[in-house]
């Protein structure tokens, strides 16, 4: 029977409607128990549609009477049983078509031709969540965020720090298998270069699908598989929802006492064409926003060129206590940052980063420094009150093309820091005023061009930095040395260092079977001008000290270098040897007194890596490096109120040899990562430091004498995540041994310092309502010195810190948060100190509004001081810091 219907339906194209109806009526009289609806479906343009679902119901009700789809010609047939109801409802649902509902009279047969309207696909979409917590594809390890996050995690760093194989340091730097990552990407784009704290601290967890580790990541795509790297990159994979919309993090916090605030607004967008992060933040609760501007992946040229701010003169401060920084930082910190990356063309992207930060810091501390000398013990008491004002402006503009066929990158960076500090030491009534600004700008260009099968690289790094600093100290110090033992009001040390740095090179790379040869020819120039002058004053009268306390030095280094790198890759192993030959001209000119030398350095390094099996990889690196620089400043510089430093020395030469071995274990199926590292380095130099103590005043000079120093470091780490109980355990051990010498009070002092450290970290989510993080750290410092053949054993110092953080989900979306901290510190003969801190917070989550409302009582035990003991060589420092007392902070956190 259906066959007949089909024939008729086919005839509809040719026959008049009346004839068709007559035929159908005739057939339907035969009295079959099934009814039939047939027809075609087309869109508004008359085009045949596919993937259509037709469902037939009674006029009211959800019982399916019949259903069908369309064939390749858009035709459909629905059969349904005779029903009591006269009226039926035909629902038509299609991919990218508006849903259509037709109400029909129930007949034994009817022909229905339907037109549907195209529309945006609004069908329910479920984005695939690979349920495996960790997966690996080629060199990419994928961490499924859903498997590791708990419902109290808000920003992505909360989850990253608990991922197996990954660690996050205090500064926010991310390590994979104990090595810092070389790139941080969001959806494959590097918006912030090394300043990725801004992303990790602001990107909401619910925007992220996965965190990916790209092992052995070569950031230059043209060099993938050609130039070896042993570092990994991290990529954030966002979920589809987050890629489409503006993401935001808004926090508003008010508290007491004193009046406290913690307010942040961060707006983020990451889509295919453009990414941006804009943030404005302000707090006076001790959160250091400068961390968000730290470059965590510094370029070697930036380090060599003096592109990092340094204090040529400084204020002595008590060492910061090993407690949570928010407990002792009294700040008023503001940060505004804008960062964007967008395509200029198919190849090029343009990005800019601009940030302004200011901070006003107050610190109160007492310090007792004991210097153990063979004949004497010097005790220095310093009760300080300090005030620091700090402004920072960072701007960066970059253009980049990074494909398999072209690499071009140029970054222009400008940085300006204004910093001034006032400090009063009440114990000896010393006032200090420090101004230590910093200006730095650089242009970093690199490009790789492919010429046939050879790679031609061009690199250029040009920078200028300026440190115009001064230190004002009252009353006058070193009166015997500086003013013929006459009292005077104060000193003014002015010092300025300006450096022009250039490192330009051209490289040529060729691949010959398994061997890749890269030869780089370059020129490096480091031109530094240092001038300093020390003035004394009494009242308004400024006068010069007795003797010369002025330097006006031009230090130049001009280096031509040829660096040959050979990379040999085998199935499971690779070996990279680098030989650097650099004829160097060095000169030092201090007010007409000229020194100069020509040297040729042969430096080499060997890096080898061998994959033992799928789980174990080991590597061995050997480096031999010689270098020389002029660092002479014949006249004294007042480095701080109690240190006068001069180096009247010839060329400072160093010979460094280092060897390090590492063994890594990785099993993503069992979520276990481990690494073992041992390194030894010997550094020889021709210059030895010499310190002379005159009560609390120190005069430092340097003399020419063979000065070897050794460093041994051993570290081990095991990191395992138990997926079934959502528990991660991380155990780390570290042992470091350093041996060096220094002349103190005319006698050579050989130091031997040993540091042992054990860290254990556990994070667990035993059930849906409880999250527990516990970490403990035990450190032992043991210093020994040898003077005139006699060993002096200094008392070991122990630190034991514990931190327990508990989050419990209660009824009605309330969460209780408890944070407990314990700090123990001793120095054998001194009374051990124990400190306990507790913070408690309660949070109510308004799920619909995506708002967390919380109240946190910090430092419940109202601990207002922290005392600690630590050794630096033969200096025992007993410092006491003023802490923030008990505070109450109300916060509203909104994420969208």
């Amino acid at each position: 029977m259906l066959f007949l219907y089909r024939i008729i339906l086919n005839l509809t194209v040719f026959l008049p409607n009346k004839i068709i109806i007559c035929l159908l009526v005739t057939i339907s009289f035969e009295g079959y128990s099934q009814n039939v609806i047939q027809g075609t479906i087309k869109d508004e343009t008359g085009k045949i549609v596919n993937n259509i679902n037709l469902i037939l119901y009674p006029r009211t009700g959800e019982n399916i009477l019949g259903y069908g789809g369309v064939d390749e010609r858009g035709r459909f047939t629905i059969k349904y049983p005779n029903v009591a109801t006269d009226s039926i409802r035909l629902e038509i649902i299609g991919l990218a078509y508006e849903r259509k509902i037709l109400f029909l009279v129930s007949k034994s047969y009817q022909l229905v031709n339907v037109q549907v309207k195209t529309a945006v696909n609004t069908l329910p979409e479920i984005i695939i969540k690979d349920e495996r917590p960790i997966t690996k594809k080629s060199d990419t390890i994928n961490y499924n965020i859903k498997s590791f996050a708990n419902k109290n995690d808000r920003v992505i760093i909360d989850v990253i720090k608990n991922l197996p194989g990954i660690k996050v340091t205090e500064s926010g730097q991310i390590l994979y298998q104990n090595k810092a990552i070389n790139k941080f990407y969001v959806e494959g784009q590097d918006l912030l270069e090394g300043r990725y704290n801004l992303t990790t601290n602001n990107l909401p967890v619910n925007a992220v699908d996965a965190v990916q580790i790209l092992e052995n990541h070569q950031p230059v795509r043209m060099l993938e598989g050609i130039e070896e790297t042993d570092r990994a990159a991290l990529n954030i994979k966002l979920n589809a929802n987050a890629r489409m919309k503006l993401i935001g993090n808004v926090n508003a916090g008010l508290g007491l006492s004193p009046f406290l605030r913690n307010n942040n607004v961060a707006l983020l967008k990451f889509n295919q064409n453009m990414q941006y992060i804009n943030a404005v933040k302000n707090n006076n609760v001790g959160v250091n926003l400068d961390k968000e501007l730290n470059d965590l992946n510094l370029n070697l040229n930036t380090i060599l060129s003096g592109g990092i701010t340094q204090n040529l003169v400084n204020i002595i401060k008590a060492p910061t206590p090993p407690v949570n920084t928010e407990r002792y930082t009294f700040n008023n910190n503001t940060l505004a940052s804008s960062n964007q990356i967008f395509p200029l063309s198919k190849l090029f992207t343009l990005k800019y980063n601009i940030a302004y930060e200011n901070d006003k810091l107050i610190n109160n501390s007492d310090a007792i420094t004991q210097v153990y000398l063979p004949s004497d013990t010097i005790v220095i008491n310093e009760n300080q009150t300090g005030y620091n004002t700090y402004h920072k402006l960072i701007s960066r503009l970059g253009i980049e093309a990074n494909t398999q066929k072209i690499f071009f990158k140029d970054i222009f960076n400008f940085q300006r820091i204004w910093s001034s500090e006032y400090n009063y030491i009440s114990s000896n009534a010393v006032n200090q005023k420090l101004s230590n600004p910093f200006i730095n700008l650089y242009n970093d260009f690199s490009s790789v061009i492919k010429i046939k099968n050879n790679l031609l690289g061009v690199n250029s790094y040009i920078s200028y930095s300026d440190l115009p600093q001064y230190l004002n100290v009252t009353p006058g110090q070193y009166k015997k040395l500086l003013n013929n033992d006459q009292e005077y009001d104060g000193l003014l040390q002015k010092i300025q260092s300006r450096t022009f740095f250039l490192n330009n090179s051209v490289s040529f790379g060729k691949k010959i079977n398994k061997l890749y040869v890269n030869n780089k020819l370059g020129v490096l120039a480091n031109l530094q001008h240092l001038n300093n002058n020390l003035d004394l004053f009494t009242g308004d009268v400024i006068f010069s000290p007795t003797g010369s306390f002025q330097n006006d030095i031009e230090r130049n280094q001009l280096k031509l270098y040829n660096e040959t790198a050979l990379t040999y890759r085998m199935k499971k192993a690779s070996i990279v040897t680098i030989l650097n030959i650099s004829p160097t001209h060095l000169s030092n000119n201090d007010r007409g007194i000229k020194q100069s030398e020509n040297e040729i350095f042969f430096n080499y390094s060997i890096r080898s890596k061998y994959d033992i099996n799928q789980f174990f990889t080991n590597s061995l690196n050997i480096t031999v490096q010689r270098d020389a620089t002029y660092m002479s400043n014949a006249s004294f510089v007042l480095q701080n109120y109690r240190s006068l430093v001069s180096y009247e020395i010839p060329l400072y030469k160093t010979w460094d040899k280092s060897i390090n071995y590492s063994l890594n274990y990785k099993n993503i199926v069992t979520a276990m990562f481990a690494n073992l590292g041992i390194s030894f380095s010997r550094k020889n130099s021709n210059i030895l430091m010499k310190s002379k103590f005159d009560q609390d005043l120190i005069t430092q000079t340097a003399i020419v004498q063979d000065n070897p120093s050794d460093k041994l470091n051993f570290s081990g780490n095991v990191n395992k995540y138990y997926l079934s109980i959502k528990t991660g355990i991380d155990i780390g051990v570290n042992y470091a041994f350093t041996k060096f010498k220094e002349i103190q009070q005319g006698a050579i002092n050989n130091f031997l310092n040993k540091t042992s450290k054990l860290t254990v970290r556990i994070n667990t989510q035993p059930n849906k309502w409880l999250v527990l993080n516990h970490s403990l750290e035990f450190t032992r410092y043991k210093n020994t010195s040898k003077q005139n053949g006699n060993y002096i054993e200094y008392d070991p110092v122990h630190f034991f810190n514990q931190n327990c953080n508990l989050k419990a989900s209660l009824f009605n979306d309330y969460t209780a948060k408890l944070n407990l901290e314990h700090y123990y510190n001793d120095a054998k003969y001194l009374k051990p100190v124990n400190y306990f801190f507790a913070d408690f917070g309660i949070q109510k989550t308004l799920k619909k509004q995506k708002i967390d409302l919380s109240a946190t009582l910090s430092n419940i035990f109202n601990v207002k001081n922290y005392t600690s003991y630590s050794y630096t060589n033969n200096y025992l420092l007993n410092s006491n810091y003023t802490l923030r007392g008990r505070t109450l902070l109300f916060k509203a956190d909104f994420q969208f």
């Binding site: 679902n53 469902i55 399916i64 979409e125 080629s138």
Partner: protein
Amino acid sequence: MHTHTHINKMVLKKYLILILLFAFSQKNYAQKNETVLATVTYKISQVRNQQTLINDVCLMDISKNYSFFYSKNVAENIAKMKEAFEKASATGVKPNFNAADFVITKIYRFYKLHSFSKKETINIQSVGNQMLGYVDAGYTNNWEIKPDTMSINGLKCQKAILERSSSIITGWFCKDIPFQAGPFSFFGLPGLIVKTSSSDGWESELTGITYNKDDKKKMDIIDYALVSETDFKKAVENAKASRQIGGASPNTGRKQN
């Protein structure tokens, strides 16, 4: 450990041969040119006598006229091998296959190609060292729709029962998604089949669905030779015999589920 490594190597070798086969086999089937309209992800398993024999994630690409159901892990294994070979040819270093990078246990080794217009399913499987497919003639499609409804992964689903000679299948379908397709050999319900469980231990559940918005993704149907069911069975027997006499079949040393 040695045996395990040996087996892994054998399995890897098998994939190697498979890839070569794919590379040289003829591409006779026009289904490849069709644009993928949607990709559905299913978590599937087979448990028999309290033992999990299959535990895998499968994908189903749906085009205008076809749906193609396959293991995500098998597809990824093949992609990894291809990538390793491409990398090897670029760098000149032999590919280093790491068994830990491949998921080779409890995976679903079959492919199902369903034609909406013909209402037939082709079962595709690796036999010996070739991919063979045959039309599954024994399939019945008499779903009985029940009034029960349930929300699965946010999708409103309705129950249906299918009785086959060897098992009873409970299916849940979503009327809002207009594809009359489903996992394994199941199809023919008024909406996408979201979940199935059968009395012989097979289970599947939709965990994701995405729609292809840019029209770029094409159906990537594995190349196979279409044979009759009888010839297919013969080929299976021949492959078994070949293994027993120590033949060079890449399946040697591994039990097929």
